[in-house]
Amino acid sequence: MRYIPNSPEERKEMLEIVGLESADELFRSIPSDVLLNRKLNITEPLAEPEVIGAMESLAARNTAATKPSFLGAGVYSHYSPTIVDHLIQRSEFFTSYTPYQPEISQGTLQYIFEFQTLVCQLTGMDVANASMYDGSTAMAEAFLMAQRITRKDKVVIAETVHPEYLQVAETYTQHGGLTIDTVHFDKETGRILDEDLTKLDDQTAAFVVQSPNFFGCVEDLQKLADKAHSVGALFIVVVTEAISFGLLKSPGACGADIVVAEGQSFGIPMSFGGPHLGLFACSEKYVRQMPGRLAGVAYDKNGKRGFVLTLATREQHIRRDKATSNICTNQGLIALAATIYMEAMGKKGLQEVAMQNAQKAAYAKKQIAAISGFEIPFSSPTFNEFVVRAPKNANEILEKLRTDKNIIGGLPLSWHYDDFQNDFLVCVTETNTKKQIDNLVEGLKAVS
């Protein structure tokens, strides 16, 4: 086994030194009747080329990975500068652990500090943590945090939050006495239904809104924040498309108390849904109720600046069952990739990529709206995703588009919303060329 340095001879000598005759004797403390005493029923060892071959043949069966696609819905195809994947493969980053020993972990601690700063700048918030598993768990943790802060047990959430996020929140909160009430959307605008805002009352811990929402519609966050605050609830904003930060008014500027987001768009491959990156930011006054790790500035005795993990008493290894969360390992290396992405793109790049997404989606939206029988059902402004209403069942159209034209045209809304059998969600990013968009439009014409 090439990953194990010791030779059989060395191994024998070491066994002798510790007074054993065979490796089996190492396990004498395990009751003999529960020892396996047989080989595991898994493959015999494969050589390096064989492993590559096995993995490549699996990958080859993921035919969707290399096709023109207009899927979004929380996971997005974006350009990532080449240096992102190179830098995260430096041994010093990817083979180190959580920075428990600051003197020999300053590289990790400094990028966490830069990451926290960048997340604050983009979300418009005071403080951000070192990351959560993904956007969905970040949102669930925000529910629990709001419950701790307000000591109220009801969360009101927009129906247009990513359906899988809501499912995760339901799992996380099912044993903590929190109830979740849903606000419907306006079938004309695709935004939150104003009349439903009466569900917010003085028992509400938090009002939770996604923008751009699951249909791609940009919400009027300022108005919704005021509504939440008027009943004493926290305002939690969810963002699944982080590229939108480059163009849209930040949640912080609109009055958000907590912002959670999925950071996958920042240089992270789609990888069939993970590993992705949860962003978590809040107002300074709530920092001690925050889940997750935080890096902060510290000085050594010579006055030299460094960074340490700080405010650790919130966490599970100290406060145990009274901790703000059970989270320990988070998404360290993915947070690094996002940090490199944000810095390489910089101010201008983040603005330009956001603008290109908005422009390309606007172009596609116009072209599709012009196809006979097709319409755009929601009137609100959209960023890089929008809902299309087809003249017949969307599943059938998309299936035909896939088999006849080799295009993955989007996500049927009936995936989660039963009433919308003819609707589908189209996402256009900077990676979709004009030609792909035109082919999509031609394809839709042909199959409808």
């Binding site: 194990i4 010791n6 492993v51 993995m55 696609s69 650790a312 960023f383």
Partner: protein, 507 residues
């Protein structure tokens, strides 16, 4: 004019990226917009757009970014540099082959909502890994959805809760006590709390194992939902009474959850399912070598008995004839713990690890990991206090007892190890040993490195006895000394701002 002398390579003084920013520098390259441009006001009205020009976001070149991260990377210790014996963390070699397979375009470019028939390879990979982990743990129900160990734990205890609620109905309300040993990881009680359990602590014996009598007493008090046990436990000792422990819990009407953090001592040798354990989580980033990445991403599969399987998170990945499918029709499921299907990239790496090792290699890794720890235990026992006499499995615990009388504590020994070129062991954990030093060498360390580590530890002991101040002031070799964590916590500075101090504070 003054000339500044360069006394250190610039890599030692790399500032924050924000201090490097210069207006107009560019580090990216996008194709020109290839569609007709629409007036932006028609797409997003002005009042919904940012008006702060992304204030503070840096502007740097590609070269700036490369140098910045390369320089700060050199301030990190890493597995590739040397032994990283953090107990309970299993810092084993992260193979480059696994990095390569995880980056195959057919994996990285796959959208999770792609039509199932065009994602068969990914689904099959998940399925195959589920099957292998079921075989390794002896527990047939496997979900790879949890993103890390703590989430796997939460999933595990939620399965227990769902099972009890179904079995006992209303009466399950009186069964909400989770027993957890005093030596457990902090995530255990934190996860139990998230599933709505209250925690009772079980004492450890002088031998360093669970106090069976105390366990029985607690069980007699009733209300037992289950037990969360790490095995081998956090002092590196195998719970020899494991079969009886499981029986006691089952007789009390509860279920047994095993924290799989220490599975590197068992793979291919013994299986939790055969002990009587009902549910376990694994850490792919420990036992199955996916990189720790400076604190994640992990992957925390949850493996359980057939009885608990219906409650696993949805969707499940199943095989239907020759096709692999996502099964959302799981009415008894605890629900979803994460969007999509888990940290798929980590699953590719773990399966590559399993394929590379195969049946014989996995066992060899386990044996070597245990032998290495046993070797250190043997070699260090003379100079360092070993609080428990039993033979350790894959990790061994010592205390600072022989050094503290000279004023040298565990923290000092850890910091001095840095000067000798090693990453320190896990310190002050578990809490049941005062001044604990928990050492886990893993199988990825050869005999020369083990001997060098032993030499270093012996030298440090010698220093502690003869020149304690040298150890107390360590480390002496790093670019930064011990940091004032109290001030950092009293006046937290958690983000850069334009008026922030630069590298060296001016008093």
């Amino acid at each position: 004019m003054s000339i500044k002398k360069v006394t250190q390579h610039p890599s030692q003084n790399e500032e924050l990226i924000f201090d490097r920013s210069q207006t107009g520098r560019v580090g990216y390259s996008l194709p020109k917009l290839d569609v007709e441009e629409t007036n932006i006001d028609e797409i997003i009205p002005e009042e919904l757009r940012r008006d702060d020009d992304l204030e503070g976001v840096p502007e740097v070149s590609e070269v700036d970014v490369i140098r910045h991260f390369t320089r700060i990377s050199t301030w990190n210790y890493s597995i590739d540099l040397g032994m990283y014996p953090l107990g309970s963390c299993t810092m084993k070699y992260n193979s480059r082959l696994n990095e390569k397979t995880a980056r195959i375009a057919g994996f990285t470019g796959l959208h999770p909502l792609a039509p199932e028939q065009e994602a068969q390879g990914a689904l099959e990979l998940i399925y195959n890994l589920q099957e292998d982990l079921a075989e390794i743990t002896g527990l047939p129900g496997v979900s790879l959805q949890p993103a890390a160990g703590a989430q796997g734990e939460m999933t595990g205890v939620m399965l227990i809760r769902a099972f009890l609620d179904k079995r006992d109905g209303e009466a399950a309300k009186d069964r909400r006590v989770m027993l957890i040993p005093d030596s457990a990881h902090g995530t255990n009680p934190a996860s139990a709390a998230m599933a709505g359990f209250s925690v009772k602590t079980i004492k450890s014996t002088d031998e360093g194992i669970t106090d069976l009598e105390h366990l029985k007493t607690l069980c007699e008090q009733g209300g037992i939902a289950g037990l969360m046990l790490t095995n081998p436990n956090t002092v590196g000792i195998f719970e020899k009474n494991i079969v009886e422990i499981c029986e006691v819990i089952h007789d009390a009407g509860g279920l047994v959850y095993m924290d799989g953090a220490n599975m590197n001592a068992l793979v291919g040798v013994a299986r939790p399912g055969d002990f009587g354990v009902d549910v376990i989580h694994l850490n792919l980033h420990k036992t199955f070598s996916t990189p720790h990445g400076g604190g994640g991403p992990g992957c925390g599969p949850c493996c359980c008995t057939a009885e608990l399987e219906p409650f696993l998170p949805t969707p499940r990945i199943v095989k239907d004839g020759e096709k692999y499918k996502l099964d959302y029709n799981r009415p008894e499921s605890i629900g979803r713990v994460k969007a999509f299907y888990g940290n798929f990239g980590m699953m590719i790496r773990a399966l590559s690890y399993i394929y590379t090792h195969g049946d014989t290699g996995l066992k060899e890794a386990t044996e070597t990991a245990v032998l290495n720890a046993r070797y250190l235990s043997h070699k260090l026992a003379e100079d360092f206090d070993k609080p428990f006499a039993s033979d350790p499995m894959h990790e061994v615990i010592f205390s600072h007892k022989k050094q503290s009388r000279k004023g040298v504590h565990t923290l000092d020994i850890a910091k001095r190890l840095i000067d000798y070129g090693f990453h320190p062991m896990t310190i002050y954990f578990p809490l049941i040993v005062e001044g604990a030093m928990l050492i886990e060498p893993t199988e990825s360390v050869g005999r020369q490195d083990l001997d060098a580590f032993v030499e270093a530890m012996k030298d440090i002991n010698e220093e502690a006895q003869t020149n304690p101040q040298l150890v107390i002031d360590a480390p002496h070799s790093t670019r930064i000394g011990r940091l004032d964590e109290a001030t950092a916590a009293r006046k937290p500075v958690l983000r850069w701002k334009p008026d922030m101090d630069s590298m060296t504070k001016t008093a």
